[in-house]
Symmetry: D2
Subunit: 378 residues, 4 copies
């Protein structure tokens, strides 16, 4: 069995989630290439040492270059804040590594373009962690669409609603500052629904949108008696057209009081419809217009059957999985891709396409007009 | 077009609902025999006069015998408290009238048996108002069962949960006194789920049950500073077997805090299942095991399509109807039945069968053993 | 008790719904001024005669001018297709009548402006039938907002999804032709969510939007072997800003396969949120952030309690009402308004404001830019 | 940090779930005593070797006595079929080990009594794996009850519905044979709801019940062309009384077509109610009657907040956990208990109490009368 050496940069929320995925994947997918958790990197020595111990890494370092220099490490996992993606990824590809990068790819589209070119030049695997592509219910949605069972797609509506910033007294972390995060609700969670729309409906061809910052100042983390300017959006909405003629309505908010992680979409086709909500991620709602006329209705499918994607590796029918399992699936695909030398979806190209839509939304918010996403660099 | 003269006894909750049904039925079912709202009877002169005016009756009386003596009146509608059903119904049949009686048929099984015999002797129509039989979703449930689409019925679970008596300070009306109401949650709402089980699954052959009165004393209506004994149950539960081999679990409560009118059942068959809840009475949940394996799930059918029972007479797709409409459907069937001289379901025989189950539950609650419902008198 | 004479123009879907409302209102609101159903007008003699008989009108005419000339008629109810609203309404005000007009007010904003001016000149009551304002749950939503219990409103998302035009073989009625209907999904159902947004959040100040006609040709009603051009949208989406700083995302579709009458909105405030769906119109979802931290969640309120708007006139707790009841409430308010000489909400001014938003969306769909709704004429 | 040596007997469904729990617990609960996965035992050499490799055990054996003899092993985890529990557990206590036993405790109450006595004699920890006690939403339910927020408990209804045996052609595994499984739906899943009722409402004092085997013969696993007799129930229903005066209605089925893992209960108290369904195990429905009258309704609490039990060790708000996490929580409590020398709930005493209720149901099914559970042995 192939063994693939992993080096992780970052040890906070995503670092914890990715570590769990590497630790778990082969217990449930024993035939998949083995993840070898070689080293974790982070700038705070105590914190990274503790993370290594807790999360199960063999070693740790405060300098991620050590990972790049380690020939046993096949994959560099970039789970840092967004402003560091570009630097680490460019160096990783230069070192001939495979790269697994958190979303969004970069803080600017120019950076993203460079990263795509570096990926192509390196010829290694480049995967981006849009983990919601790996929810079994989402894959089932795609299978249903591809099978033609809901006909031609006519409209997509997606909203990703959270509320963790509803409190004006919540302090200002890096996710609220443009230089670190690139954008706010748009890049953090709007990116996810945009990527899901790409996966399920296809390319977005134009957008018109709006960005809002309802709470423009917040207490500083360093000194909560002082206020600082929030420099990213906390809400965004945009309309879109798709290459296949479908229309899209998108919204992302971190102020939707009461909605914790409401990543929801509905897709209407000429013969049926599909609806999903991450808060009930083991379920998919599906309507088929060719059901008998007296018994037509949205079905609530509990996506926990052996016939469903990935599910037969987990538990019997009706035993639900959780959010962290999406990362295990993602890492499963990563390991297979690295072993085969093929970038699995969502690849760096998918990451760029998503970023290009976010960029067009930002331009539209400034221009007040419809804008076209930049094409993937050759 | 045939016109059918109606005389109503009772002007409170059920009197209001029945009056509405007579007033509405021909506006939506214009081809149905016409309901002629001739007279309403009640003991309180002011109240009955006001009811006649408000509800649209041509005349009123404080003596229901006036209705019996009126040759233009074809149907006597008995919407009084339960302890008066027997007397009025017996006189009505003796007068050769058709009878539409509120549930439960009577306060004792002996009374009910006499009423059935009087009905048979009269040869007129005898219908009992188990109005939930006339919910379109419930009829759809029956159609699905009869078509074999969920296979053989294996189990029924029904619970009718209300909470209007959760407050110990709620005063003691006639529904809390055995001499007027016969029983409590059992006869008032347990009767409904029992009747629905009969309609959907078939005859109940044995029961074991329990009655409870969690709040044994309440303030008197006449003098709330005085407490009186509650002499009926406020909760009942029972297990049942059906003639077709299915099993049943039943519960009725007036103390289920937060449940307003939760008349819910689920039926599991060998090939599918059905679930219903009156609080969402325009919906039916249906599961078919012969759906494709990857898209099996309970469908939420919005039972508002033209193909659904009664619906094409109301409003377009997706425009829901309310609780009162069940009475309109019931009255529709009554008018057709009277015109044709045939007792529509639920007939007095259905009323007796339900009463026999309630009686068996009461006997079981006393004996601690399984009891068999008394058979319909020849 | 005051009696108010009613003359209705139109006898199809809305004519049926309005007739029912006039027939029912005083049975449940006996203290409200009496609706006197004097006459119904329509062009087809047989049809209008049958409608008069079935719906309970004392007389009928094929010339609506008869209604205008009848001094006993206080209210002209305009339930015709949209292209006739302007003519009838202008004449009705000229005749000194009170007017109750179906939505949208007119097919163009210029017409609507004239109608508002005529209303002001007449000094009589002018009400528009945005009946969803009269859903008890919707009024409860407004009461909650007005009480401050969900804080400052930050965002509104509304979608009105139907699917009755999903079949490309459905023939082309008047609602699909611009000269009769003005617009498609936008004016028919987008108007409703726009009006609800106005009622609940306040004035919309700018919009950017898109119109689509996914099925551009349909069989002619007159000759289904021939195809005709659909000249209105079957889908619309738009973004909006509100005067109070909130943002809005709107969508209306007649092609949302599986959604029958899904008029749904969600409102996020700084302290709570509210969600509603017409298909479950007796329910309101409400979240309060000042609930205890361990038990915060959206409450499903069954809006059937005596404390809820209009409800105590209908049935006991938990006995739901239907779609038609919204019209009864609307007519109730109309009768009170006419008796008092005050135009109740939604007035002709509300109708104009809604129309101005629809007009701005149409302009934006053409310009690709943000557009501002025209102000109410002085 | 204390390290606790674990030896596991069994490697199938529960073996996999328990292994996962030991492997995961310290990554999320780093301050908890460490689980040291020393050895796994099973009779099939190839299978147990593969399980050791896949699940992360340091060693394996085909003779569980090796675990008993190993002084580094502190805890014997008994995840075998039910008929082996008694033997292994008795030997484990005799060897002075702590014991973690799958449910139900034993196949007969006599065996269970002996095991309780052995546990008391050993003075070590004895815990039973009723893992649904460790669902955060279930613990929240208990906290709400204990705080008095729903008042006095009046009724409990619990149903555990599965459908994996709905197909008559499903072959006959050990769970369908009385000598291996003890009972069917009753002991397998009825045990869970019984235990939850004990945890949430308190001791059950009497029961009357019914057992059914709707599919009495099934193909043999060894030779599917031959049919064998199913010797356990596939459905059970029973009524119960609780020591605190509450009433209970219970049902368990393996034939409830469409219900995958529907372990659901509702508890009605004098001031509120609680509802739960394992298929949406991250949610709890709660109703409080002291909410303001216009906004009373069941709240859907997403039990993923830091204030909720165990949750702050997992992921941020709104990121759900899965079924397997209940075992991690269970193992967490086990490790703490072993370190402190205290048997955590659910202890062997809880296991016996549950078993005593199941035994009373079986006796009642035979006698047709109410039966009283045997008391815990002194």
């Amino acid at each position: 069995m192939t063994t693939i050496g992993i080096g992780l940069v970052g040890y906070k929320f995503m670092g914890k989630a990715h570590s769990n995925a590497y630790r778990q994947v082969n217990a449930f997918f024993p035939d998949t290439p083995k993840a070898h958790m070689i080293a974790i990197a982070g700038r705070n020595e105590d914190a990274v040492a503790e993370a290594a111990e807790t999360f199960g890494w063999e070693s740790w370092t405060t300098d991620y270059h050590d990972l790049l220099a380690n020939p046993e490490i096949d994959v560099i996992d970039v789970s840092t804040p967004g402003h560091l993606h570009h630097t680490v990824v460019m160096e990783a590809f230069a070192a001939g590594k495979n790269v697994f990068c958190e979303k969004p790819l970069a803080n600017t589209l120019a950076e993203a373009a460079e990263m795509v070119q570096a990926w192509k030049a390196a010829g290694t695997v480049g995967m981006i962690n849009f983990n919601y592509r790996k929810v079994p219910a989402v894959i089932l949605a795609r299978q249903i669409i591809e099978s033609g069972r809901i006909g031609e797609i006519r409209s997509f509506r997606g909203s990703y609603l959270q509320d963790w910033l509803r409190d004006p007294n919540a302090t200002m972390g890096w996710r609220l500052q443009k230089e670190f995060a690139g954008s706010g609700a748009l890049g953090d969670i709007g990116a996810h629904i945009t990527d899901l729309a790409h996966m399920l409906v296809g390319p977005i061809t134009s957008v018109t949108g709006m960005l809002r910052t309802a709470i423009p100042q917040r207490p500083l983390e360093s000194d909560p008696t002082q206020m600082g300017d929030v420099t990213v959006d906390d809400w965004t909405g945009f309309l879109a057209t798709f290459a296949n003629g479908a229309t899209g309505v998108f919204e992302a908010s971190r102020l939707a009081t009461g909605r914790r992680n409401h990543n929801a979409f509905e897709i209407n086709g000429s013969k049926g419809s599909i609806a999903f909500n991450l808060e009930r991620m083991n379920e998919l709602e599906v309507y088929f217009d060719d059901d008998a006329p007296d018994v037509r209705g949205f079905r609530t499918i509990l996506v926990t059957e052996g016939v469903h994607p990935y599910v037969n590796r987990w538990w019997p029918s009706g035993h639900i999985i959780g959010w962290e399992h999406t990362h295990v699936h993602q890492v499963h695909d990563l390991l297979v891709g690295v072993a085969e030398g093929v970038s699995p979806a969502p690849s760096f190209a998918d990451g760029f396409r998503c970023q290009a839509v976010l960029d067009a939304v930002e331009r539209s918010a400034a221009s007040g007009r419809w804008e076209t996403p930049v094409a993937l660099p050759e």
